[in-house]
């Protein structure tokens, strides 16, 4: 009896781990797309509204999905702290906190980090260029992420359970 329960537990655990991995693949394209639309909102605020960056960040945070909003909310908060840091430092700090809780990959975060170099500190045309570049890069990442999702989601969903089964059959 205990043996059967143990076996079931092993299969459940590996199965769950597999599904979690699959979920990550499934979510990433979606997160990348909301990140793109977040930058789109930021662009509108900067180019058409000439909204100061801290306020623009808050606007973006209020109008995007919660998982992405965290980054912009944090960035807005960092910018408003009167510590005399540069925009890049504030943005990097926000990114660091964001990295700890996002499913996005390092390559995605690198695009955002790159954006921090130019954020805020030039005229509108220049801001537009940099934002477009980042959005384009995110679009490419999103495309390859959905490609990957197609195969990997199914793969990991099965792989977890199958690994469990394998373990059980070997050690039973």
């Amino acid at each position: 009896m205990i043996k059967i329960m143990g076996a079931a537990l092993v299969i459940a655990c590996t199965g769950y781990a597999g599904m979690a991995r699959a979920r990550k693949y499934a979510l990433r394209p979606r997160e990348l797309r909301s990140l793109q639309s977040a930058l789109q909102i930021l662009e509108t605020e900067i180019i058409y509204g000439a909204t100061p960056l801290p306020e623009a960040m808050e606007q973006v945070a209020a109008r995007t999905e919660r998982s992405i909003a965290f980054l912009f909310k944090q960035a807005g908060k960092e910018l408003l702290s009167k510590t005399g840091c540069t925009v890049k430092e504030a943005w990097d700090r926000a990114l660091e906190k964001f990295a700890a809780r996002t499913i996005l990959e390092d390559s995605d975060l690198r695009i955002l980090r790159q954006l921090g170099n130019s954020l805020g500190m030039s005229d509108r045309q220049d801001q537009e260029k940099h934002l477009h570049l980042a959005m384009e890069q995110l679009r490419l990442e999103a495309a390859s992420a959905s490609e990957k999702a197609k195969t990997h989601v199914k793969l990991w969903n099965y792989l977890g359970f199958l690994t469990g089964l394998l373990l059980v059959t070997v050690f039973y």
């Binding site: 900067i46 100061p52 005399g84 540069t86 030039s122 005229d123 509108r124």
Partner: protein, 333 residues
Amino acid sequence: MELMGTGTKEKLNSYHPVFSVLPGNLRELVAGLPLQFMDRLEEIRLRQNRPLIVTHTAGDIYLSPAGEPTRHPGNAYIVSGDDIQRVTRMVSNSSLYAIEEELKNGYITLPGGHRVGITGKAVLEAGKVKTIKYISGFNIRVSREVKGIADNILPYLLDKDGRVKHCLIISPPRCGKTTLLRDLVRLISNGKPELNYTGVNVGLVDERSELAGCYRGVPQRDIGLRTDVLDACPKAEGMMMLLRAMAPQVIATDEIGKVEDIKAMEEVVNAGVTVLSTVHGSSPEEIMRRPALKYLLGLNVIEKFIILGRSRGVGTVEDIADGTGFLFGGVDK
């Protein structure tokens, strides 16, 4: 008349908006200044790769890396490119793209009415300055609010019916004309029971946001209970807008000089509204040499000139002259 009081804790706090645009290391340097110096602080000058200089009422000094005032440039703290970058981000609220209009004019105003002058490389478009690139220098000017300095002046500006006379404050730069105008506006707006004067509606066109120190349209300085402020509005247009919409008895602006400003003033005077303004110069004779102002004086409407100087410290009232007296050749005290 001296504008400066003695150092108090309260005053120190009111400088905070200025210090908050400095990065931590510079803030520490400047905050270490002795209290009596702080009290007379006028400017903080930052020029990339050159010494940090602070200006007070009696001159300027360098600051050493330890924050000690020094007379020797060799011992001074040298402002780095990194410092400049950080100040740029602080004064622009992280958004250079949002202050393009201000950069064109070469300065921006901080919350509280403190003005920051900016230098660097000008970028031109169709022969006009489009923006400033490679920002390399700042002049952070401490703006003061000194209530009560206009107390002794107001009686000169009231006629026997209690109407405010058309008045022009003439002063060289950094002699306290903005401070005086702000206090005059406050008094004219609030009224003064001792003089049996009840106060009237004042329209204030604050093109450079220095007088009322508006933040998001709300005045941060005490400019009186009956004062309506048009913040960041061009003077000539603003005067007409106020005249049409706000029924002011007095319209006040800072630093007139352009032809369209004078035209608008003429319009205001003809509508039976009192004008109150300041102008750069040191005497009525001197400003007569500027064509636009000559035209204004030629209209013979300005009733009082207040002439400021620094002979006994910032904000010394050198003279209060009658407009007509001046035009007849003599300056009537």
